[in-house]
Each structure stands twice: as structure tokens, then as C-alpha cells.
Symmetry: C2
Subunit: 518 residues, 2 copies
């Protein structure tokens, strides 16, 4: 095979190979270069006009409890409403501003107080300004040369997050999302164990296995596939009925053999908001010298709360942590910190390629300020400013108050659910995920047969569809393990009040009480 590849680029005689230099055309065209191609005044006018629309339609209306959370339109219809086709010739400012209004109008208001659908919600005004500045400055977080402020700022922000974990030293980097942060953890664990994999590939080492609970996030599986380890080599550990990891001796893991690479414990699972017992897992990892990663993408926010940070007790013993401040801390998508206890520049040794065009060593400052080569990305967005500015604005205390309030909302909702017929919790929440079934009147009081559960599984999709069409609120649902479809209510926005929570319960009843079995 190799021989045939030798000639890969060798047929020099046949093709138009020689770079001919540029073909500019008539010299008279150069007169065009006398003036700028863009009209700045026109451009600024557009930005100002659009800003007013953004403030009115997206910020004010988007957070107004009297407005709809979403304006449901089916895909086929929306496609024709939006006039998405890209034209040959530019459109007028009036038309463009109309497009802006349409985009906002038909988008979901994730900042609405009754948006409970994802692990992000709400609007932090200061973080939003951080995002606007980031977008305007439009730079890449790889060298001090073109990102002086943000190189220093990223360092300070990551240090602060590490301190909340309990690390006075360490390392870290922002990644494009928690899945990527988790993949960084896999790669660093692999690099620490077998540094020559970077150069020679996985063929030179034994099969490597990642452990996580069956409640762990699916990005571990995606990461195992992407990084060449294979999804079979993610061993999922069963959990007990309350979704705390338990003994694995009777599980399918017996089928496998392989060398333990890392344990990814979860602090705040995606669906149930459950926390693995980190201290105990840390004991086992320590005993076996296995990398402990904690996926606290969701639960990391609890570290801000003195009352609730016990949920993550032991996290300081991890080797690495994923924490997404775009979730509970409301920094805005995306803001995912990958944090490391390591002080040996493992990020650099695992990821660096040493491209000299970007990372020169003869600059007028120390090369350590050029942090970009420690990522697998080249250009990398600035994700620190939004979090930094928000933190400056409300301080650690303000963040703590928000976290505590989210827990308080959760407790209020759960208490109210207990008072009403028809709401059944899947489990008592540990965190701010409230997982529950709404049991409509016609299904109450009888025996809970397989048919009962089958009918119950139809309730959430029906209620969800009605609420989306009505636009009154948004909450997610899913089946999970042996459980039929149930709602997962997420409470994080500081804009949520008791009234919103009462409305939520009333609205579920309004939308679901007439449910009839098939």
C-alpha cells in the first residue's frame, strides 16, 4: 500500500501547479482602494437601531412574565415565515431590522421567569455586557499579544473557581462546553498514564477503561468514542433506587477487562441532580492510583453555598473538575471551566503542538503568557469576561444568594407538590432538579398496573405540547431507566418567584387534568 502512496503528490507534469501569483485585473481598479469599502456611520446607525430592538424585544419582553415563553410554530411553517434564503444583493436597513425582530420573536425566551427547560436559564445583565464586549473586541484567547487582558483575566477567574473547590494551586482552561471539558479530562488522564500515546497512538498501550455511573453524562461516552477508546470501554456503574451509585458486582462490567484509566464521578447529574459520594470514590481512586475526574458541570454551583457545598465533599481530592458557570451561575453560553490539580503543565504536554507562527519565544514578554497551545483548539473564544464582570458586579455573596435561592425555590415547589393531589416525586431532590409525574384525575386511586404506567407516560408529552403551543412556560420531560416520561423542573433563575412556582403547578393541572387514557 505504501508504495502507491509514494506518488501521492508527484504528477508534477500534468496539473496547473505553479502558483502564478495574483491576477488583479486592470490597474485602474486600484483606485478602489482609496476609500474604505464599509460605511462606518451607516454601520453604527444599524448597531444602535438594532440595540434598541434587542433591549425592547429580547431583554424587556423576553423577561416579562406577562409575555409568552415561546411562540410555537411548526418547522415547515417557520421556514416560510423567516425568509431565510441568502440573497445575491444586500437588503435595506429596514428589512434587516425586521429580520432581527423576527429572529427574536420566534426564538425561545430562555430568560423568561417561566423557562425551566434546561440547565441554563435567566439573564444576568452584567454577564450580558461582558458578552457584548467580548463580541465587539473579537479576539482569540491564545496569545498575550492579542489578548492581554483576557489571558490575565482567565487566570484569575480559574484561580477563583479552583479556590472554591479547595485548591490553592493548580491549572485550568475554558473549553467550548462541558462535553469538551470532560474530553480534556480523559485525554489528560491518558497522557499522565501513557504519555507516548500522544505520539504513537493507542495501539501501543492496553485497553483503557473509564468508569462512571449510569447517571453520568453522555459526553463520557461521546468522548470515549471520539478519543479512540470506544464506548464499550466506558463502564457504567449501576445506582440504587435513589440513584446513588452502589455495588457493581452483579453488573455487566464483569464482561470486560481493561486497565482503569479514570473514574468520572458526577456532582449533579443531568436528569436527577444527584451527587456521587466523592470522598469514597476518591479513596478508591487514591488506593489504585487512578485519575479522579469530577463532572460538576451542573452541580459545581453548589460550591458557592456554605449550606449546600457538602454535596460535593471530597471534590478537592479530584485530579480534575468540569464546572460550567453558564449553567447555575448564569454566565451565558458557553462558559465551561476545566480545572486541574496538576502543577506540571500537563495541559501543555498533552496538547501542545508548538506552532512557531503563533507561539513565538522571542517576544517581549515571557512565553508562559501565551496560553493557547494548552488547548486542542487553535482560535479560542474569550469565555472569562462575562463571568468576571458578573462576579465583580454581585460578588461571591451575590452568587451565593442566587444558589441558595435556587435551593429555596426547589424546597418550596416540593412542599407545595406534597400538598396537592396528582404530583408525585421521582425522588426527594438533592439539588435543584425536581423530577415528578403529574397524575391526572382519571389515573388516580387505582392499581398501578403496567397499563397505568403506560398511560402515565403519555401525560408529560401531552402537557408539554399544550404548554408549548400556549407558550405559558417550558419544562422538560423524559423517560429514564425503568421510569416512564416524567417532568424535570430546573430552578436557577433569580427571576423566579413563588408566584411563578404556584403558576407552574396550577398550569400543569390546567393542561393535564382532562387527560384521558387511550
Amino acid at each position: 500500500m505504501l508504495r502507491s502512496w509514494r506518488g501521492l503528490f508527484s504528477n508534477r507534469a500534468t496539473g496547473p501547479r505553479q502558483p502564478k501569483g495574483l491576477d488583479l485585473g486592470r490597474p485602474s481598479r486600484r483606485g478602489l482602494l482609496m476609500a474604505r469599502l464599509q460605511d462606518a456611520a451607516e454601520g453604527e446607525h444599524f448597531v444602535e437601531a438594532a440595540f434598541h430592538i434587542i433591549m425592547k424585544e429580547a431583554v424587556r419582553r423576553g423577561t416579562d412574565v406577562n409575555e409568552k415563553v415561546c411562540q410555537w410554530v411548526a418547522p415547515e411553517e417557520l421556514e416560510s415565515l423567516l425568509e431565510l434564503e441568502l440573497p445575491d444583493t444586500g437588503e435595506s436597513e429596514v428589512r434587516l431590522l425586521q429580520h432581527c425582530r423576527q429572529v427574536i420573536r420566534y426564538s425561545v425566551n430562555t430568560a423568561h421567569p417561566r423557562f425551566f427547560n434546561q440547565l441554563f436559564a435567566g439573564l444576568d445583565y452584567h454577564a450580558l455586557v461582558g458578552r457584548f464586549i467580548t463580541e465587539t473586541l473579537n479576539t482569540s484567547q491564545y496569545t498575550y499579544e492579542i489578548s492581554p487582558v483576557f489571558v490575565l483575566m482567565e487566570d484569575v477567574v480559574l484561580k477563583k473557581l479552583r479556590e472554591l473547590i479547595g485548591w490553592m494551586t493548580g491549572d485550568g482552561i475554558f473549553c467550548p462546553g462541558g462535553s469538551m471539558s470532560n474530553m480534556f479530562a480523559i485525554n489528560l488522564a491518558r497522557h499522565r498514564l501513557y504519555p507516548h500515546v500522544k505520539q504513537r497512538g493507542l495501539w501501543v498501550v492496553p485497553r483503557l477503561v473509564i468508569f462512571t455511573s449510569e447517571e453520568g453524562h453522555y459526553s463520557l461516552t461521546k468522548g470515549a468514542a471520539f478519543l479512540g477508546l470506544g464506548t464499550d470501554n466506558v463502564w457504567t456503574v449501576k445506582t440504587d433506587g435513589r440513584f446513588v451509585p452502589v455495588d457493581v458486582s452483579d453488573t455487566e462490567t464483569n464482561r470486560h477487562t481493561g486497565l482503569p484509566l479514570m473514574v468520572s464521578a458526577t456532582a449533579g447529574t443531568t436528569i436527577l441532580g444527584a451527587f456521587d459520594p466523592l470522598a469514597e470514590i476518591a479513596d478508591v481512586c487514591q488506593q489504585h492510583g487512578v485519575w479522579l475526574h469530577v463532572d460538576a458541570a451542573w452541580g459545581g454551583g453548589a460550591l458557592l453555598s456554605k449550606r449546600h457545598r457538602h454535596l460535593l465533599a471530597g471534590i478537592e481530592r479530584a485530579d480534575s473538575v468540569t464546572w460550567n458557570p453558564h449553567k447555575m451561575l448564569m454566565a451565558g453560553l458557553q462558559c465551561s471551566a476545566f480545572l486541574l490539580k496538576d502543577q506540571t503543565d500537563l495541559l501543555g504536554s498533552a496538547h501542545a503542538a508548538g506552532a512557531r507562527y503563533l507561539f513565538q519565544t522571542d517576544r517581549c514578554y515571557q512565553p508562559r503568557y501565551d496560553t493557547g497551545d494548552r488547548s486542542v483548539q487553535c482560535g479560542r473564544r474569550v469565555d472569562c469576561l462575562k463571568l468576571w464582570l458578573m462576579w465583580k458586579a454581585i460578588g461571591t455573596r451575590g452568587l451565593r444568594d442566587r444558589v441558595n435561592r435556587a435551593f429555596a425555590c426547589t424546597r418550596y415547589l416540593v412542599t407545595e407538590m406534597h400538598k396537592r393531589d396528582g404530583f408525585r416525586l421521582l425522588m426527594e431532590p438533592q439539588f435543584v432538579n425536581v423530577c415528578f409525574w403529574y397524575i391526572p384525575p382519571c389515573l388516580r386511586g387505582g392499581e398501578e398496573t403496567p397499563d397505568f404506567w403506560q398511560q402515565l407516560g403519555r401525560v408529560a408529552p401531552l402537557v408539554k405540547q399544550r404548554m408549548v403551543v400556549k407558550g405559558s412556560m417550558m419544562v422538560g420531560y423524559q423517560p429514564h431507566g425503568k421510569h416512564v416520561n416524567f417532568f424535570r423542573q430546573i430552578l436557577i433563575s433569580p427571576q423566579v418567584t413563588r408566584e411563578d412556582l404556584d403558576f407552574f403547578l396550577d398550569e400543569i393541572e390546567r393542561l393535564g387534568s382532562d387527560f384521558q387514557p387511550m
Copy 2:
């Protein structure tokens, strides 16, 4: 080893294991939930005030040719200037706005007409508005449910990019940067060849080899490491003196054996702006059934120009293409399209994990509108709106004019360089990268000994340092292969005029003419 892992999570008696439910504290606290925690009026006021600062300081001053490109401050000094520490208690609006001003003041103005330092530059006002709207709507591009507009819009934008490649059908997705797009290409090539690697890992297949030229981007190497293939298995093909790939029979690749996985050809190399002969490479790939990826992250913009798109002739024969509209098209960081000829949902089969909490199949629309599982990310930023709105505003023709103008600027600069002593091109540009040495008077006219080159290699860092301290402009430099440090001037911003280019040449002379050999 397995046995000891069996008990991984089994010491149930010892730990504080049972989730206890939430500890809210005194019921009286619930009164706190009556009102919102955030003051919307205060927040909106801050956004308005900050917006005016952004417009004045970042947009107007940032693009004003009479202002500095950058305000150089050494890292240690900048650290103390910025007051980066994150406080316990929030700060006043006045202070926060001052922080915003400082962040802008000490950041590099990448939109300045004399910023020539990276493969991005300039400011498109419409794209900026697209980014502001994106940040305000703050959603994730994974389901139609919470991203209806952007699911449809991404599809339209990717289709348009594919059409410019010459594909009437196909697939694609936006990735967080060109490096990630290139990694997607590696993974899809691997998945097509050996789909069971996803499940079982690389151990079950022979060693796989990626081919690219020595001018290819370093993300191929990073990707090979990250995806478990190993950097040794990236075979770099040597190029000729003009940096067009040539015969590889005498190269180090002879040392290797392995199964060809893909060829990554480059359309617009990072440093030199060179184009691989795509049609010829496509012939070889076709003959051997090997995946052809074209990394057009940088050069893709030339597809807009009828005059210059011949540089990418043959790209339509690729299996996949990386194209970053945040570079030449000025959409704003980040906007990287990974484009595919495939119509078999290879993205889905290679990446999907089928998480049911996110991707339900009993929704009131077809599951194909939930596109998120086709990425390795979970939450994914909206990257289409900025490009879409810019395209609506100036049309395909406006984009084409910009691209043609960038070529015209390049030709003008090169012509002017030929007229002056002291500027020597590394090669005639094929694209908008102008790579050159500035030879100061004291080094001119003599024999070009090794010492001459060594001295010349000191010129660019000195000139660069002086220009950065002065803040007059920014241009990158690097050594490359056998060549000592040379400048790489990148011309893309439509705000660049002849005057800026004349200034550029004059300024290089001003800053470098007094150079003295050591």
C-alpha cells in the same frame, strides 16, 4: 485488577450516603421568594450605559485609524492596572463601567484598519448585531424545541456554503473553531472506514495514517493526538521551494507503515497562504478510496470570487471541508463550518449517543429537527446568526467584493514592495498573505552569508516590539522551515485603504531602518 474495582462504590455502611433532601432552614425564609432577586430596571440601565461605552470606545475608537491599534503594557504591570481580583461583595455601577472601559482600553483593537496580525480582522456591523442577538437570546443549538429559528437557519447557511463548494446536497455542522472541524473530519473518515471503532476503540483496527503537507495546519497533529491516532501517524508531505506539495518518495514517510485514513489537503495555508492542488490530490484519493478532507478554514473565502476561486479547483471532489467564515468573511469569532458531501447521516452515526433526556422522539415535530446529537458537544453555541445577518445585509455580491478587494490590497502592497529597497518577498502571494523580510540598510548589498541571515532574523522581532509599544499597527512574524523570522501581513479588512498600506511600508522602514547587527 478487575476484582478490586468491583467494590468501587460498595462501602455503603461507612459514608453519608443517603440523599437527605434539601435543607432549607427556617420556613420564614420562604418570604424571600415573593420578589425577584434581580432588579430589572437597574440591570437594563447598566446594559444601556455599557452599550454607549462599547459604541464609543470599542466600535468608534477601535476602528479609528488615528487611534492606537494596541496599548502595550507588560503583563506584570497590566495585572495591577486591571484590579482583576474577584470580590466578596459586588461593586457599584460606576466602578463596573470603569472596569468595562479598562478592559476595552487595554485590549487589542482587532477591528483597527492597521491590524494585520491574524487571520481575522475588521468589524462587520451586521455580524456584530447577529452576535449581540445571539448573546441575548442565550440558547443552545441542539433542539428545535429551544432553538427553532437557529436549527432552520444553520441548515440554510450551511447549504449556501456547500453550494459555493459545488455541492447541491450534503451535510454539515458548525464547530467551535477550525481545529475542531478538522478533528470532526478525522473522526468521520475513521467512522466510515471502521464504524466499530466507535464502540470498541482503536485496538481492533490497524494503525491509521493521515496525510497532509508540511504546510498543513497543526490542528491535524493535535487532532491525531487527541483522537488516539498519535502524531507519528500524521505523515507530512514535503513541499517544493514555492510551497506546493511535491513528490514524497525521499521523505521520512518511508519509515512508516499504516493504513491510509485520510488526506487533509490545505486550501490557504496559515503562514504562506498556499493552495494544495486539490484536483490532483482528489485523483489519488479517488483511486485509493481514501477520504479527502480540505482544510479551507482560511482559503475558503476565495470561493466567493469568480476571479480567484480557481485556487480551490477540485474542492467539490472532497469528502469534507473545513471553512471558517470568522476569518476572511469577518463573521466574528467563532464561526467554523464543517461541511460534508455525505448524505447518509455519518455525523449522526459517528457522534450520536442518543440521550433521551435531550432528544425525545415523542415531540410534536420530527426528530430530525433536533440536530445536536450530531456533534460531540452537548450544549452548542449558535454560530449561524452572525453570518446569516451579514449575508442578508451585503449579499453574496458584497462578500465577493470584499474578497476581491482583499486580493487587490495584496497586489497593491506587493507592487509597492517591489518599488522599494529593503522589502523582499518570501514568495509571490497566491492569496492575501504577504510574507516578506524587511532588510534594513546596514544589511543590504553584501553577501548573504549565514551571519546575514542570522542578523536578519533579529529584525522582525525588533520592529514588532517597537510597533507594539508605539501601537501604530500590528503584523505577525515567525521563522518557518529553513527561513529566519519574516513578517506575515494579512489583508482582509474592508476598512483597509491604500493609505494604510503605504503607511504600513513607511512604518516598517521607520521602525527598522536603524537596525544594527550584533
